[in-house]
């Protein structure tokens, strides 16, 4: 198998492992860090997919900015470990049960997706076989600001809402 295959499995492994760590770590700090690791794996995959800009954005914005925000919150609230409430013991759907259900469902979903893909024709061929890559940032920007101009504008509103909302929810309010 070729080098890109090797790389693929490397990055994929990193992504999956990171993801798994995220959901298995009891300590949120580790979870966040694991997620960042998994993001690195993803950005690697983006490189393989000849989408370097996305890869970069993934690192800088996602891992760099958003995750830091998470990390910041974790530190702020400073609850290193999960605590169990009386709910967890008393309720019929106490944690292990919830875990089993969730796990089972996730497994089912994975199976379904897998099977669906396996039954889909034309997924065998290499990603890059049919079309040349379009990876130039210029082209990307052009499309973004022509075809996706309106969507782009919408995100601005989205972000205003998020900002105002975050403020409204978090800022001190004079009683």
């Amino acid at each position: 198998m070729g080098s890109d295959a090797l790389l693929f499995y490397l990055f994929a492994g990193a992504a999956v492992l990171g993801a798994l760590l995220v959901v298995t770590q009891k300590n949120p700090v580790y979870s966040v860090l694991a997620l960042i690791a998994s993001f690195f794996g993803l950005s690697g995959l983006y490189v393989l997919l000849e989408a370097p800009f996305v890869a970069v954005v993934q690192i800088i914005i996602y891992a760099g900015a958003i995750m830091v925000l998470f990390l910041f919150t974790v530190m702020l609230l400073n609850v290193p470990r999960e605590d169990a409430t009386e709910w967890d013991q008393t309720h019929p759907l106490y944690r292990p049960m919830a875990v089993r259900i969730g796990g089972a469902l996730a497994l089912l979903l994975a199976l379904e997706l897998g099977w669906a893909l396996s039954r889909t024709a034309g997924l065998g061929g290499g990603v890059a076989d049919e079309h040349p890559a379009v990876s130039s940032v210029a082209e990307l920007g052009r499309v973004l600001f022509t075809d996706y101009m309106f969507a782009f504008e919408v995100t601005s509103i989205l972000i205003i809402v998020a900002m105002v909302g975050a403020v409204v929810l978090a800022k001190k309010r004079e009683e």
């Binding site: 669906a116 889909t120 996706y148 969507a151 919408v154 509103i157 989205l158 809402v161 105002v164 403020v167």
Partner: protein, 479 residues
């Protein structure tokens, strides 16, 4: 009015502008300086409404992703009505609950922007963005009474599940994109129409996941579980707002996606929606029976109403499409009215939304009791209210497509629902009131709002013809 490529988004622009103005106004508002911020919001909404009316029959489109066909304009008008009424009711409760008016109105207006955009967008990505805009705004509104744990808790539940669901939705979009190479509805539609796709597992995955996403916003079983909590936790006005606005917007997008570009696959998604609709109608009404909190009761009732709307969608015929629009209008007016009453009866400390709180309301607030009764009768589908015509309309659609079973489930479940609506009536009229803090007197504005929605309810119930024709015209241009 000169035609430009911006025409289609003028309503949205109006509301957005209003939102921004409101924000600024709040920013420049000095301490306890009174400012008619609500008025600004209403101006913006009225503008949007006027624009929608002017755009009637012009099928304007902008940027290839936004359309202003009659369908979306009808929805816009519903949303405008929802917005105006919400503003009116808020005018009394904001002060009481110590909510920053500016932020509140701004976020509400942005939510409406998202809603309108959901109705108008013809591109799955834009729909997704609109949906997120709307959702995030509504999350915030839900949790806007931070000092109340319930409010925050409701907001978080709503938020987390919403994010969860929109991930599914987005994944569905991804599959459709993968198959058709586009997120544009027309393109998707043409591709699907070109080669029969119903065999392609990936597109089925896409359709299924889209259903999840939309069904969540419509609060259809089994994706409904967020709504009772969110509705109960949120301030009553907000509950009314989201139970009507969010539903209207989500349904609009749902209808557009499934009855335009995915129509060729109706045989694939109809059975699923049939089951969902049936389950929604049954569960919504049945569980409503056991509720003692009015907000929660109406939450379940609005779940059930979602089911009725879906019945129209399942029918998939022209009657169904028009019926959905009519139903949305009728339901919006009725439910807003009901939640308006609840909101006005609340106090800062207690929501006063327990069934017992309504004991003997007829004796203390006869007007409110009578209004509430009308809204409840409309929700229960009694003539001569909007609710009856609306129900008849959707069931007529279902029967027209031969879905007798769905119609029977619908009518029987509506009988069950009547039971708990009448419990409230019993409380208000037939029970002596026990000592409760009598809430603040109702301001004229708020009362005007209630009367307004009552007039709407009765108008749709007694002289529905105009609106029915209107609805039919709305769907005639598209699909």
């Amino acid at each position: 009015m000169i035609s430009s490529q911006f025409d289609a988004i003028i309503p949205i622009l109006c509301v957005t502008l209003a939102g921004l103005v409101v924000l600024l106004a709040e920013a420049f508002r000095g301490r306890d300086e009174k400012m008619p911020i609500g008025g600004l919001a209403i101006i913006g909404l009225v503008g949007a409404g006027a624009a929608s009316i002017l755009l009637w029959n012009r099928n304007a489109t902008s940027f290839g992703v936004v359309t202003a066909d009659n369908f979306s304009l009808f929805v816009n008008l519903i949303l405008v009505a929802v917005g105006i009424l919400t503003v009116i009711f808020s005018s009394q409760t904001l002060e009481r609950d110590n909510i920053p008016a500016g932020d509140y109105y701004a976020i509400m207006l942005f939510a409406i922007v998202g809603m309108m955009l959901m109705g108008q967008a013809t591109d799955l990505l834009v729909i997704f963005l609109a949906l997120e805009t709307m959702s995030i705004a509504v999350y915030v509104l839900t949790g806007i009474r931070r000092e109340q744990q319930q409010s925050t808790e409701a907001a978080f539940k709503y938020f987390l599940l919403g994010a969860f669901a929109s991930a599914f939705f987005l994944y569905g979009v991804a599959f459709l994109f993968g198959v058709t190479g586009s997120t544009n509805l027309d393109r998707i539609g043409s591709v699907i129409a070109a080669q029969s796709m119903s065999g392609n597992p990936m597109i089925l995955l896409g359709v299924g996941l889209l259903i999840v996403g939309f069904a969540f916003k419509v609060a259809a079983v089994p994706f409904h579980m967020w709504s009772p909590d969110a509705y109960e936790g949120a301030p009553a006005v907000v509950t009314g707002f989201m139970s009507t606005g969010v539903k209207a917007a989500a349904v609009a997008a749902f209808v557009r996606v499934f009855l335009s570009s995915l129509e060729p696959m109706i045989a694939d998604w109809a059975p699923v929606l049939w089951a969902i609709a049936a389950a929604t109608m049954i569960l919504g009404t049945v569980v409503g029976v056991a509720q003692t909190s009015l907000k929660r009761m109406l939450a379940y009732s609005s779940i059930a109403h979602g089911g009725y709307i879906l019945a129209g969608l399942v029918a998939g015929n022209d009657v169904g499409k028009a019926a959905i629009l009519f139903y949305l209008a009728a339901y919006a007016l009725t439910n807003l009215g009901a939640f308006g009453v609840i909101a006005l009866l609340g106090t800062r400390e207690r929501a006063n939304d327990d069934l017992r709180d309504y004991a003997g309301l007829f004796h203390s607030h006869p007007a409110l009791a009578v209004l509430m009764t009308f809204f409840l009768l409309s929700l229960g589908g009694f003539p001569p209210t909007a609710g009856f015509i609306a129900k008849w309309y959707v069931f007529s659609a279902a029967i027209g497509s031969g879905y007798y079973g769905l119609a029977i489930i619908g009518v029987l479940s509506s009988v069950v629902s009547v039971f708990f609506y009448l419990r409230i009536v019993v409380m208000m009229f037939m029970t002596e009131r026990d000592a409760r803090p009598v809430p603040a007197p109702i301001t004229g504005v708020a009362m005007a709002g209630l009367v307004l929605s009552l007039i709407g309810v009765l108008y749709l119930g007694v002289l529905p013809s105009a609106v029915i024709d209107f609805a039919q015209a709305s769907i005639s241009t598209i699909f």
